[in-house]
C-alpha cells in the first residue's frame, strides 16, 4: 500500500523538490531563512501562495491584504475540496489531513480514481498526500540552504511557477474532450485583466468564470 502510494507520487517528487528549491532560494534572498521555509511549507502548504507570500512578507503587507490575497490565490481550493467531498466520505481519522494536504498536484493524483472509500484506499490516499508534502518541505529546506551558497544570479527562476501552471493547463487540455471550461477561464481572465488592470482583475475574473459556466450548464446540460 505504502509502496503503491510512493510510486504514484514519483512524478510529483521531482516537481515539488524543484519548485520547493525555487521557493526556498527566493525566500532566503528575501531575508527569511530555513526556519521560515520549513514553517511555511509545513503549515501553509500551498505552492503558488507561498511564492506570492514572499512578496507580502517583504512588502510589509497588512493582515487584511494578506487574507484577501490568500483567498484570491487559493480560491481554487474551494473547488478541489468540493469535487473531493464524495471521495473523502468515510475516510475517518485520515480525513482532516487529506483535506489539509489537498494541493493542486495531490488533487491531480487523487481526483481520477473513482473507487469508494474503504480502509486500504484511505491509507493509500493518506500516504500519497503525506509523501507529496514531504517532498515539498524537503525541497524548500534544500532551497533555503542553497540560497546561502549560490553565487550566480537566479533571476528568472520564478518562471518555474508559470511553467507549472502551463504544464497542467496543457495536460488537462489534451486529456479533456470538453474545452469550454478552459477557454472560458482564459478568455474571462484576459478580458478582466484588460478592463480592471493587473491589481484588481482576480476577483472579477473568478466571478465572471463562475457566472459563464453557470450559464453554459443551463444551456447545454454540461454536467452529464
Amino acid at each position: 500500500m505504502i509502496r503503491k502510494a510512493f510510486y504514484k507520487t514519483i512524478p510529483v517528487m521531482a516537481g515539488y523538490i524543484v519548485l520547493g528549491i525555487g521557493f526556498g532560494i527566493l525566500l532566503h534572498n528575501a531575508g527569511y531563512g530555513i526556519v521560515w521555509a520549513f514553517a511555511m511549507s509545513t503549515f501553509i502548504y500551498a505552492g503558488s501562495m507561498q511564492y506570492v507570500g514572499i512578496g507580502l512578507l517583504t512588502g510589509g503587507a497588512s493582515v487584511i491584504t494578506t487574507i484577501i490575497t490568500t483567498i484570491m490565490v487559493n480560491a481554487r481550493h474551494l473547488f478541489y475540496s468540493i469535487s473531493m467531498i464524495g471521495k473523502y466520505k468515510g475516510s475517518g481519522k485520515y480525513k482532516p489531513y487529506l483535506i489539509f494536504a489537498l494541493t493542486d498536484e495531490t488533487y491531480s493524483l487523487l481526483c481520477d480514481d473513482e473507487e469508494p472509500s474503504n480502509g486500504s484506499l484511505n491509507r493509500y490516499r493518506f500516504f500519497v498526500s503525506l509523501f507529496d508534502q514531504c517532498y515539498w518541505i524537503i525541497g524548500s529546506v534544500i532551497g533555503s540552504l542553497l540560497g546561502s551558497m549560490i553565487r550566480f544570479s537566479t533571476a528568472g527562476i520564478e518562471f518555474s511557477m508559470t511553467a507549472l501552471f502551463i504544464a497542467s493547463f496543457t495536460q488537462q487540455w489534451v486529456e479533456s474532450d470538453n474545452h469550454i471550461p478552459a477557454i472560458t477561464g482564459l478568455v474571462s481572465t484576459v478580458l478582466c485583466l484588460v478592463i480592471f488592470g493587473t491589481e484588481k482583475f482576480l476577483i472579477p475574473s473568478m466571478l465572471l468564470i463562475t457566472l459563464l459556466l453557470t450559464v453554459f450548464r443551463k444551456k447545454e446540460g454540461m454536467e452529464k
Binding site: F43, G53, F159, T162, A163, F165, I166, L186
Partner: protein, 102 residues
C-alpha cells in the same frame, strides 16, 4: 513578529478554504456544486496562467518574447512527453537563458 502574524494568516486562510466546502456541503452536495467542482479547476488553471503573466508587456522590449518562447516550450514538451517536471525544467531553463541574452 509581523512576518509571523502574516504566515499564520496565510496558513489559517488556506485551511479555511480547504475545509469549508466539507463543513458546508459534506452531508448534501447540490448538483450545481458538483458541476462547479468538475469544470472550475480547468478554468482556474487558465486563470492562474494569465495571473502569472499579468506583468508582461507586449509594447515594451523584449515584448514578452521570452515568456512566449518559454511558455511554448513548456506546452510542447508536455504534449510530447506528458511529464510535468521535464516541461517545467525545460521552460524555466529556456526563460533564464532568454532574459539574459535578449
Amino acid at each position: 513578529m509581523t512576518a509571523m502574524v502574516l504566515v499564520i494568516a496565510m496558513a489559517l486562510t488556506t485551511m479555511a478554504l480547504r475545509f469549508l466546502p466539507f463543513l458546508i456541503f459534506g452531508k448534501h452536495t447540490p448538483k450545481y456544486i458538483s458541476y462547479l467542482g468538475k469544470v472550475l479547476p480547468q478554468a482556474i488553471i487558465a486563470l492562474l496562467v494569465v495571473y502569472c503573466l499579468r506583468d508582461v508587456s507586449v509594447v515594451t522590449p523584449p515584448h514578452g518574447i521570452p515568456e512566449l518562447i518559454a511558455g511554448l516550450s513548456v506546452a510542447l514538451m508536455q504534449v510530447w512527453k506528458r511529464n510535468a517536471v521535464l516541461s517545467i525544467l525545460l521552460g524555466t531553463a529556456v526563460y533564464m537563458v532568454l532574459i539574459r541574452v535578449m
